[in-house]
Each structure stands twice: as C-alpha cells, then as structure tokens.
Amino acid sequence: MIDGLAAASIICALLVGAACLLQTWRDRPVGVGLLAGTGATELVLLAQVVGAVVEISRGQRADQPAVFVLYLIGSVAALPAGVWWSLGERTRWGSAVLSVACVAVAIIVVRLGQVWEGTGG
C-alpha cells in the first residue's frame, strides 16, 4: 500500500466524479474526455495493486489480509463495471452512473488504507 498512489487515486476519482456530475447537470452523455479520465484513474489504481503485491511479497501484512485483498480487487473492478453500466445508456444518466462509480472508488481506497493500517472496522 503506497500512500502517494492512494492519495493520487482518490484525487483522480473525485475529479473525474465531479466532471461526471457536471456532464449530468449539462445533460451530456459520457464522452471521450470522461473515459480518458477514468482510464487514467484506473492506471493509478492498477499501480497501487502492483505496489501492494510487492509490499506483501516482502513480508508486510495488512491487519485483515482477506479484507484487504477484497478491497484491492474492488478498487480495480469498480471503474470498468461503472463504465460498462454507464455506456449502456448514452444519456446524462450514464454520466451520473460513472460519478457513482468514482465516488465508490474513492471510498474503497480510503477503506483500503484503513485496513492496511489496521484502523477502523
């Protein structure tokens, strides 16, 4: 778990999520810009997975390893699932769905950090 990447992914997810809400408000479907932003966020999340795997292979352990791995999987699965569901309807509601996925990613990464540090449930 690399703190810098965690912070970067949360910031990226919240920025893309805000842009999605703006597009929802402007009655626009998900466009290339939002997809690019989502892709960039996903790359940061994937880098986090690599970082976490390296740290675990070096002997570091999360307080609850099973929960940590599930959150790690969730962190990289949420955006592809959100993109798939949002592209099913090319209206403002597709943009709204992507914003939900982005907020979910931000929450997942925060929880990921808590589980790694052993704080919180």
């Binding site: 099973a66 509601w93 709204a96």
Partner: protein, 152 residues
C-alpha cells in the same frame, strides 16, 4: 443488458433507475464480501450481526437483479425486496440502538446503516418511489411514460 434503451418505454433500469441499480449493485457486492469474510473468519464473535449482514446481502442481490429485469413479475420481486430492506433496516436499526450489546460489531443495517453513510435507510425509500413511478400498467406502458404532472 438493455441496448437501444432510448426506444423502449422507461424501465426500472433506465434513466435515473440506472443510478439506483448501480448503488444497489455496490451494496450487493460490498455486503456479500463483507458477510462472507465475517462468517468465514470470526463467526462466533457476533453471530446475530453477521447473519443479519448475510441476509441483507441476499436482499441487495435480489433487488439488484429484479431492478434490471423488465416485466410485471420482476417489478413485484423488486418491490418485495425493497420493502424487506426497508423493514429490515428499521427493525435492525432500532434493535441495535436499544440493545447495542447484541451488536458488538457493525452489521450493514445496525444504527440504520450509519456505518454506510445512512445509505441503507435512504436507498429502499428511493427504490420504492422509483418502482411506483415505473409500475407496469395493463396496457404495457408504465406510469413514467405519462407526461410529468405539473409541480404545484
């Protein structure tokens, strides 16, 4: 999945309903994984709370599936799931406030979903309101097809 959904009458998973399905799906995945881990690793720690979490997980899965399926049958299933969810979150929430010793660890529905930003108590209300709006009519249209009522 619903392709060319713009040509169809508004279903439960189109328009704002897509957000509803997304949030239900997140809760289905979250509640399933959480309760699976809890029951597998520390079941004796808080049996009641973990069993209730597992029940909540099943309700979220049923609601998610039912909301994405068209037809009168699935609409009824969705209403039943949302109603069960609302009753569950109110009952478990009240019980957890009155007797916190029975809930040593957070369940999804304890303190009215307070551990989950109170989304569990808001979600079924929004779900039932949306299902009421998209209720199938005998003529095959939905109430959402009617022009919106003027807001007074």
């Amino acid at each position: 999945m619903a392709s060319a959904s713009t040509d169809r009458p508004a279903g439960t998973s189109s328009g704002p309903g897509r957000i509803l399905v997304a949030v239900y799906a997140i809760f289905a995945v979250a509640a399933c994984s959480r309760s699976a881990v809890q029951i597998a690793t520390e079941f004796d720690h808080a049996r009641l709370a973990y069993l209730l979490s597992a029940f909540a997980a099943v309700v979220y899965v049923v609601a998610t599936v039912a909301l994405t399926r068209p037809g009168v049958h699935w609409h009824r299933v969705a209403v039943a799931a949302c109603t069960t969810e609302l009753a569950g979150v109110l009952a478990v929430g009240t019980a957890s406030v009155l007797d916190s010793s029975a809930f040593p660890d957070q369940a999804v529905w304890s303190t009215y979903g307070g551990g989950y930003l109170f989304i569990p108590v808001v979600l079924p209300v929004l779900g039932l309101a949306w299902l009421r709006r998209t209720a199938p009519r005998p003529d095959g249209t939905t109430t959402a097809d009617a022009p919106p009522a003027p807001t007074a």
